[in-house]
């Protein structure tokens, strides 16, 4: 693998994307992305998908009955 970020191939950059996205690092400033329109588009798409997915799945709480069933089952198992 090329150690110099600006000389990375697209394959090398993309192999690191899973790590880099979500790490908090601003990938748009990555030397490879700055010079590569395709990877810039791919990165933008991934970030859009991740953001949309987070909005798609709000965190929700189970109904109270779930705990009641758990308690009942625990009592039965004792």
């Amino acid at each position: 693998m090329n150690g110099n970020p600006s000389k990375m191939s697209c394959a090398e950059f993309q192999a690191q994307m899973a790590d880099l996205i979500g790490s908090g690092e601003d990938l748009s400033a990555h030397p490879h992305v700055e010079g590569c329109e395709r990877c810039r588009a791919l990165l933008a798409d991934f970030m859009t998908i991740v953001e949309a997915a987070r909005q798609l799945f709000p965190s929700v709480e189970p109904p109270d009955e779930v705990w009641e069933h758990i308690e009942s089952a625990i009592k039965r198992e004792k």
């Binding site: 329109e37 798609l56 109270d64 069933h69 758990i70």
Partner: protein, 227 residues
């Protein structure tokens, strides 16, 4: 502990407490280290391991939202997600004494829940059972397939229903890792620990999941763009 439920209290306090305020969301977990075990959590955990039912109720209260949400995201069915949540916490109750603290408690609990979900998916005979299969690197799905023309960028054009269907249609292995990493906010080392796979596999499967979602969404965009 001051907020410990009494024997007559149920551990449902957080709903009345504003709901989203106690969400252990992905972003919050990453930015604040919300999953790190706090001293108070350690004490509750130790009491639950010693058989204290109130402490177990507290653990349920602390983790129910994330476990239920994970189940719901994986199976997409409320009744099934409730059953899976119940089973995950029953497994927790049976096994909690065996937790040795080799990983974060939350990661360990998620591992239990993930196994419960995977068992359910296997029972249903879904194609994906191929969690194992999808863990195998496939040279034909390497990064080179992902190159796309820049004019087809998705930014700002994602249809919620299409994305929801695309995620539901992912093979279970892809879906699980996508949800754990991109929605739940787990790190690859935590996912690898949950799924008994390598960190490299977790990264590889996540990349493939994103590529598949992108392909579906771009195809949809192209169809909509046709006159």
């Amino acid at each position: 502990m001051a907020d410990a439920p009494t024997p007559t209290q149920s551990p449902h306090g957080s709903r009345a407490n504003g709901g989203e305020a106690d969400v252990e969301g992905a972003a919050a977990a990453k930015s604040t280290g919300a999953r790190a075990t706090q001293p108070a959590d350690t004490e509750v955990l130790a009491r639950a391991q010693a058989g204290d039912h109130q402490a177990f109720a507290q653990l349920y209260n602390l983790h129910k939202r994330r476990i239920y949400s994970l189940c719901l995201r994986m199976v997409g069915n409320v009744a099934e997600a409730e059953d899976l949540t119940q089973e995950a916490f029953l497994q927790l109750h049976r096994k909690i004494a065996t937790f040795r603290g080799d990983s974060a408690f939350s990661t360990w609990l998620h591992r239990l829940a993930v196994n419960v979900v995977l068992m359910q998916l296997r029972k249903k005979g879904l194609s994906l059972i191929s969690l194992d299969e999808t863990m195998e690197p496939n040279p034909e799905e390497g990064p080179s397939r992902s190159f796309g023309a820049p004019d087809l960028t998705l930014t700002g054009t994602i249809d919620r229903l299409v994305l929801e269907r695309a995620i539901a249609d992912l093979p279970a292995g892809y879906r699980l890792i996508f949800i754990l990493h991109d929605v739940e906010g787990f790190e690859h080392n935590e996912i690898a620990s949950m799924l008994d796979c390598s960190i490299g596999n977790s990264k590889s499967q996540l990349h493939k999941a994103r590529l598949k979602l992108r392909d579906v969404l771009r195809t949809q965009n192209r169809q909509e763009a046709r006159p």
